[in-house]
Amino acid sequence: MAEGLFAFAARRAGVNVLLLMLVSLTGFMLLHATPGGPLAQFSLSPGMTTERLNQIAHSMGLDQPLWLQYVKWLGGLLKGDWGHSYRDHAPVLSIIVAHLGATVELGLASLVISFLGGLAMGLIGALRAGEAIDALCSLVGVILLSLPTFWLGLVFIYFLSVRTGWFPAGGLMAPGDASASDRLRHLALPAMTLGLVSIPVWGAYVRAFAGDTLNQDHIRTARALGVPGWRIVLRRVLPAALLPLIPIAGVYLPTLLSGALVTETVFTWPGVGRLFLDSLQYRDYPVALGVLMFSAVLVLICSLAAELLHHAADPRLRA
């Protein structure tokens, strides 16, 4: 590589700051352009007068010019003051952090399921390319891919919770029960739902990357030198297939960590996705904007981290 790792990171960071500005501006303007605007929440209250409404608008600075409001909000963002919820006046940042734990838990659990499932499916497909089991894997993949998440979630709830009582139908934990086993039981169904539908995505990548590697000359060399098949898969095919997955994971991970809207809703999972939907429903603009900015930051941080990790892990990229 021509430029050093530091220069690369610095350049990327600069681009990222610009992108964040763009996201914040777009998000801010969009939410102010929605019917009712930021005051919608208050104008619906019974007994609300125009006078009182103007008072509220004044106290919250909503009567100031839009650009000034934006600059103030942006300044707050930078100082760590992301505003306060219209609902309970709690700081937006602490609300998001409070919901983050549940989302991270679900996101990582589903990532483990989808990644391991995809790895197995992709490797089987690549190693047995063209055979019946390869076709079976692609068929299962297409079926999983075309399952709507909400439907799969409802099916799980019906068969594994309502009918059998094996798993709880939703929520993070049973009230008053803080045991790990109870949390795991609550985690099982949403994690399976979210994990299963992503298995074919990882499977397709692994199948393609592993297939490419298997066709390379150095695999033939290893075989001609008597290296056993399992060792070739473990030492040569797997690392070669995993390396290009790092930047892809960097793009995928933030979509998990900014909340799985559908799954969290179906399983009443108190994560960031639910928080975003709720805040939109309540016209709680500071929170909605906060989640939006939080997701944007996550996307940029994850993709930057993934690229740095890729550089560190792939000896070919190290100059």
Partner: protein, 329 residues
């Protein structure tokens, strides 16, 4: 002492045979050049000898006599036996050294893998042996080389590393599939000299697959010419380059650029046409359509046998041509 006896080796992938009744034998420490154009079946034959093709695709036998006196049939080897044979008794080096090493493992890691598999060496002992092997193949700074990934090495150095890995298990037979084709001419000569010196030291036999007759003449004890999947001439190198008997061999030798043709003393004669595809072969001699000495009979009507035309009792100079006697006069 016979090292390898190949009898009636055939390879097909469901259609007409790619390799068709190939027989030859070679002695311990002998270097045999397997010569032919693209499509002659030489690479497929070598993969069959390595047991790297499906057993259902290979017919015939290829008996390898190991140093300990045991015999094994490379054409019918099970995948379990194969792992015990490959790298330890038979090794192979390939045409493209640039892609024949794992791009993301260091040279050291790849060499240690082979050394632990075939010699049971680990840790410091494997490291020491790897350095010794790299030194043996002419790598100047083996210690530094072990820490590098293949990308940092030149083509010639990569081929040396591959040779070092191939001889790590001290095999009796080395198959070399066009190992110098992808290299610069000067590097080519170095690698050929290296292979000759390794043979002199270890006495391993070598099957050297090439389409380059100049390369064959500089390394081979015997030359076997393949055409359309068949052996058409099998001769000691001296006899072959002095007086090839098969018109195809003559044409190949004529088409090889030498010093005089490079300096414009004569134009290079061109061997017209190309090797017929497996499905397009006639009943007669497979070279007949391109042969200047072709006569409708017997050339187009009858497949000539591979005849031994050597004078001596124990010599082999076999040729597959219906008119070799007339042409020799």
């Amino acid at each position: 002492m016979t090292l390898l006896a190949v009898r009636d080796l055939g390879v097909d992938f469901g259609g007409p045979p790619i390799v068709d009744g190939v027989s030859f034998s070679m002695k311990r420490g002998e270097i045999v050049a397997l010569v032919g154009e693209s499509g002659s079946g030489k690479s497929v034959a070598s993969l069959a000898l390595m047991g790297l093709l499906g057993r259902g695709n290979v017919t015939g036998s290829a008996i390898l006599r190991l140093n300990d006196g045991r015999e094994t049939d490379l054409a019918r080897i099970s995948s379990r036996e194969r792992r015990g044979v490959l790298g330890r008794h038979v090794s192979m080096i390939f045409q493209d050294p640039l892609s024949s090493l794992d791009p993301i493992q260091t040279i050291g890691a790849q060499m240690r893998e082979v050394l632990s598999l075939h010699c049971g060496l680990r840790g410091g002992k494997a490291q020491a042996r790897a350095i010794e092997l790299l030194h043996e193949v002419g790598i100047v700074d083996p210690q530094a080389c072990l820490k590098l990934i293949p990308q940092r090495l030149s083509g010639g150095m990569r081929q040396r590393v591959l040779i070092a890995m191939a001889i790590a298990g001290e095999p009796e037979l080395l198959l070399a599939d066009e190992p110098t084709t992808a290299l610069d001419v000067t590097v080519q000569a170095q690698v050929l000299r290296l292979l000759l010196s390794l043979r002199a030291r270890s006495g391993m036999g070598m099957i050297f697959i090439t389409h380059n007759l100049a390369v064959a003449s500089s390394i081979a004890d015997r030359v076997i010419v393949l055409y359309a999947g068949q052996v058409v001439e099998d001769a000691p190198a001296d006899a072959f380059f002095a007086a090839p008997a098969m018109p195809y061999s003559k044409a190949l030798l004529g088409a090889a650029p030498g010093i005089d043709s490079v300096f414009g003393a004569r134009r290079l004669p061109i061997l017209r046409g190309q090797v017929p595809a497996p499905g397009e072969r006639g009943v007669g001699c497979r070279f007949a359509p391109r042969c200047d000495a072709m006569r409708p009979t017997p050339c187009q009507t009858q497949m000539p046998d591979l005849l031994n035309i050597a004078d001596g009792e124990n010599e082999v100079h076999a040729v597959r041509c219906g008119r070799w006697e007339e042409l020799a006069r």
